[in-house]
C-alpha cells in the first residue's frame, strides 16, 4: 500500500504495529574512509531484505542523526541516496537518536497513513571531538559557555549516586567488566568515572522495518509487537533534577505499559555504567531480567543510532524466540534527561491474531 491508500479509512481502534527486521553495523571506532551513505547502505539493505522490501518500497521512511556530529548542515539529506528516494518517497528526519524516528514512524502507521516504514539512524562521532560537540546541546545561557563535556556531566551524576549509597566504584567496575571482577577499570577519565565506565564510542548505523498487522505477519515469522511506547523529558537545568533517579524513564515506562507484566529482557541505553544503575532502579529490573544481552550502549555507542539499536536488539531477541516480552529504552540529553521506553512482545504458542493483546 502506498501513502494515502489507507488515509480515507479512519480506523477506530489502534492497529498492531511490529518491528519485523533489524540490522546494525559492527564498526569498532572510526568507519575509516566511509561516507555516511557508504556506512549506511549495507545496513539498509540487510534490514530491507529481511522484510522482503525493495529500496523505496516502504510506505514511510524516517531517519535520526545529528548535523553536529557530522559538522555539516543538512548532512542527513545525503543518506537519502541510499533509500531509493526517487521518485519522491514519504520521508522525515529527526535531529535525534533514531529511536525517536521509530516513534514517529510508529505514529504514522498507527494513524493508518502507512503500513510499512523504514527507520534508520547513523552517526560518525569519529568526525569531531564528541565530548565537546555534545556541550552544544546544553542550556546556551548558563551551562554551554562552561563547556562541560559529556563525561564530566555523567561523572557528576555518578558521584551523586555514590553519595546516595546506590552504588560505589567497585560496583561500577563490575558493570564495566560486564560481570567480571571489581578491579578498577582503567584510569580515571573524570573521577569517579574510569575509562571502563565510559562507552565504547564508535561510528555506526542501524535500520529497522516496522509493519502493521497482517503485513507484519507476512514479513516476519515472529514479529516483535510494539505494545506501547512513550517518551518523557526532564528539566533542562541539571540543578533542578535529582540525578540519582530517572522519573522521566519511570513515567515513560508506566505509560508504555511496562509494569503491567514482567519483562524477560531489557535493552537499556546507558552509555555509562552509572546510568545503568539509575535505569535498573527506575525500571525496577531485578536479576530475573536479562539486561543488555547485546552488550548494551556501553559496549558499542554509535551515537544517534545507539537508542534505535536497543529497540532493534530487543526485537531481534523476540524474532529468534529468545524473549517473549522485552523492554527497550533510549535516552537523549545530559545525564539521562530525555527517555523513551517501548514494550515489545512476541506471540507465544497457541496465541493467534487478535488474541495477543
Amino acid at each position: 500500500m502506498k501513502p494515502g491508500g489507507a488515509g480515507g479509512a479512519r480506523r477506530t481502534a489502534p492497529r498492531d504495529v511490529a518491528i519485523v527486521a533489524f540490522a546494525r553495523s559492527d564498526h569498532r571506532g572510526a568507519a575509516e574512509g566511509l561516507s555516511e551513505t557508504e556506512m549506511l547502505l549495507p545496513v539498509l539493505h540487510a534490514a530491507l531484505e529481511q522484510a522482503g522490501l525493495a529500496p523505496g518500497e516502504a510506505d514511510f521512511t524516517c531517519s535520526g542523526s545529528s548535523d553536529y556530529l557530522a559538522g555539516r548542515p543538512f548532512s542527513f539529506t545525503q543518506t537519502l541516496d541510499g533509500v531509493g528516494a526517487w521518485p519522491p518517497v514519504a520521508e522525515s528526519h529527526v535531529e535525534a537518536d533514531g529511536a525517536w524516528a521509530l516513534f514517529e514512524a510508529w505514529v504514522k502507521i498507527l494513524t493508518g497513513r502507512a503500513d510499512t516504514a523504514l527507520v534508520y539512524a547513523h552517526g560518525k562521532p569519529s568526525a569531531g571531538p564528541l565530548r565537546d560537540v555534545l556541550t552544544r546541546q546544553l542550556d546556551p545561557y548558563y551551562v554551554a559557555p562552561l563547556w562541560p563535556d559529556s563525561v564530566s556531566l555523567a561523572a557528576l551524576q555518578a558521584q551523586a549516586l555514590i553519595d546516595a549509597g546506590h552504588t560505589d566504584e567497585e560496583a561500577l567496575a563490575v558493570l564495566a567488566r560486564r560481570g567480571g571482577d571489581d578491579a578498577p577499570a582503567g584510569e580515571y577519565v573524570v573521577r569517579p568515572l574510569r575509562a571502563g565506565d565510559c562507552p565504547a564510542v564508535t561510528d555506526g548505523a542501524a535500520a529497522v522495518v516496522l509493519a502493521a498487522a497482517d503485513t507484519a505477519r507476512r514479513m516476519c515469522a515472529r514479529p516483535a509487537w510494539i505494545r506501547g511506547i512513550d517518551h518523557r523529558i526532564e528539566a533542562q537545568a541539571l540543578g533542578l533534577r535529582d540525578l540519582t533517579d530517572s522519573p522521566s524513564t519511570r513515567l515513560a515506562a508506566e505509560r508504555a505499559g511496562a509494569f503491567r507484566a514482567p519483562v524477560d529482557t531489557a535493552e537499556l541505553h546507558a552509555p555509562f555504567t552509572s546510568q545503568e544503575v539509575v535505569l535498573r532502579r527506575a525500571l525496577r529490573l531485578d536479576d530475573t531480567v536479562a539486561v543488555n544481552p547485546s552488550g548494551g550502549a556501553h559496549a558499542a555507542d554509535p551515537v544517534m543510532a545507539t537508542g534505535l539499536i536497543r529497540l532493534g536488539e530487543a526485537a531481534a531477541r523476540i524474532h529468534r524466540g529468545a524473549s517473549d516480552r522485552a523492554l527497550a529504552h533510549a535516552t537523549s540529553g545530559p545525564c539521562l534527561q530525555h527517555n523513551l521506553v517501548a514494550v515489545l512482545e512476541g506471540e507465544t504458542e497457541g496465541e493467534t491474531k487478535g488474541e495477543a493483546r
Binding site: E32, G33, L34, S35, T37, E38, L41, L44, H45, P55, G56, Y68, A70, G71, R72, Q78, D81, G82, V83, G84, A85, W86, K124, S126, A127, G128, P129, R131, D132, V133, T135, R136, P140, Y141, Y142, V143, A144, P145, L146, W147, P148, D149, S152, L153, A155, L156, Q157, Q159, A160, D163, Y188, V190, R191, P192, L193, A235, A237, L238, G239, L240
Partner: protein, 326 residues
C-alpha cells in the same frame, strides 16, 4: 584503491542570543557581584533562575538575592581541562546550592586535588576580574572556611544575605544579550566514491559510477544511486567533452572570487554521464553561450578541478540528445 581522503573542517560561529527579563537580571547581577534567584509559586528559590516555573510552566518574575557562599551537592574531578572550560589547571566540576537557594548551579571549583573536594563542603564564588554579564563572571568557586581569616582574593565571601532577600532586579546598563562563541574542529571524510573521483581528477580524468540497476552514470559519484538506492561501484570515465544543458549569467561578484562579471555558470552533461555537473563557461562572450553548446574542460597547473569549460568548436548538440538531463 586510491588513498582515502580526509580534510580538516572547522565550524566556528558566534551565537548571539537575547535574554528574557529573569536571565537579564541574573547575568547583569553577576556583573555587579550579586547573585539572584527566582521564587516559584510554592516558595522555592531557583538559582540559576529560569523564566518559567519548571513544574507549572507559569511565568515567574519575583527575584531574590542569595549568598555567594554555598554547599557542594555533587562533584567530579577533571584531571585534563578541555578547550573552553573555565580553568586551565585540573579542577572539580561542582553543583553548588548557594545559601538561600533550593536548587544547584553548575560551575567549577578550584581545588588542589580530588582529596580536597567532597560533597557537602563549603565553597564561595571567586569573581572573574573582568565581568561582562555572563555565567563566566563567576570565575570559579573556591573552598570556603568561615572560621579562617578572610584574606582570599574572593574578598567578600560572606557578604551576601543568609536568607534570600527580595530584589528589584534592576541595574544600570542591563545586559540584554550574550554572544556565545563556539568552535568545533572536525575531520571530513568524503568517502570511497568521492575519494576515487578526486584521485582521478588529480590525473585530469573525470569519472563517474554506473548504477548496476538502472545503468545510469552519476557524476560526481556519491557511492549510491539516488534513484535505486543501491551501491554503485563500477567506475566509468566520462567526457572530457560535454554539452551545456542550461546556464545562467552571473552579474554579482562573489566575495573573494577573482572572476570578472558577467560570466556564465552552466549545467554541463559530460559525454557518457547521466547527470549534469556545474561549471563556469569561458573562452566565449557571455551573451553567446547557449543550450546545446559543446564544451571541454580547461585545467590550470595547480587546480584539482577544471578551472572552467570552453567551446570545442563542434556544432551544437541537438535538443533531443540532452533533454533528459535538464
Amino acid at each position: 584503491m586510491p588513498e582515502i581522503l580526509t580534510a580538516p573542517l572547522t565550524v566556528s560561529f558566534p551565537f548571539t542570543r537575547s535574554l528574557g527579563p529573569v536571565q537579564s537580571a541574573f547575568l547583569t547581577g553577576l556583573r555587579e557581584r550579586t547573585v539572584l534567584g527566582v521564587r516559584t509559586r510554592d516558595g522555592r528559590i531557583l538559582v540559576p533562575p529560569v523564566e518559567y516555573d519548571p513544574v507549572t510552566a507559569e511565568e515567574i518574575r519575583d527575584l531574590a538575592e542569595v549568598a555567594p557562599t554555598g554547599t557542594v551537592t555533587t562533584w567530579a574531578w577533571n584531571p585534563a581541562p578541555r578547550p573552553g572550560q573555565p580553568l586551565r589547571t585540573p579542577f572539580a566540576w561542582v553543583l553548588v546550592r548557594l545559601d538561600g537557594a533550593d536548587t544547584a548551579l553548575l560551575h567549577v571549583l578550584d581545588a588542589p586535588g580530588p582529596h580536597a573536594v567532597r560533597t557537602g563542603m563549603r565553597v564561595r564564588i571567586r569573581w572573574a576580574p573582568e565581568r561582562t554579564g555572563a555565567i563566566t563572571d563567576i570565575g570559579c568557586f573556591e573552598p570556603y572556611d568561615p572560621h579562617e581569616d578572610d584574606g582570599g582574593d574572593g574578598g567578600d565571601g560572606g557578604d551576601g544575605p543568609r536568607t534570600p532577600a527580595p530584589h528589584h532586579g534592576t541595574f544600570d546598563d542591563p545586559v540584554t544579550g550574550i554572544v556565545a562563541p563556539a568552535r568545533l574542529d572536525y575531520t571530513y571524510t568524503p568517502g570511497r566514491a568521492q575519494s576515487r573521483h578526486l584521485a582521478a581528477l588529480a590525473g585530469r580524468r573525470i569519472t563517474g559510477e554506473r548504477c548496476p540497476s538502472c545503468s545510469k552514470v552519476h557524476v560526481p559519484p556519491r557511492g549510491a544511486c539516488p534513484t535505486c538506492g543501491v551501491a554503485a561501484t563500477e567506475q566509468v570515465e566520462v567526457g572530457p567533452r560535454g554539452t551545456v544543458t542550461t546556464f545562467c549569467i552571473v552579474n554579482i561578484k562573489a566575495k573573494g572570487a577573482g572572476i570578472e562579471v558577467p560570466y556564465v555558470y552552466a549545467h554541463i552533461a559530460l559525454d557518457g554521464a547521466d547527470l549534469a555537473l556545474h561549471g563556469r563557461i569561458g573562452g566565449i562572450p557571455y551573451d553567446e553561450v547557449r543550450m546545446g553548446l559543446r564544451v571541454e574542460p580547461v585545467w590550470t597547473a595547480d587546480g584539482r578541478h577544471p578551472d572552467h569549460y570552453r567551446p570545442t568548436g563542434e556544432p551544437d548538440a541537438a535538443y533531443d540528445t540532452y533533454k533528459e538531463l535538464l
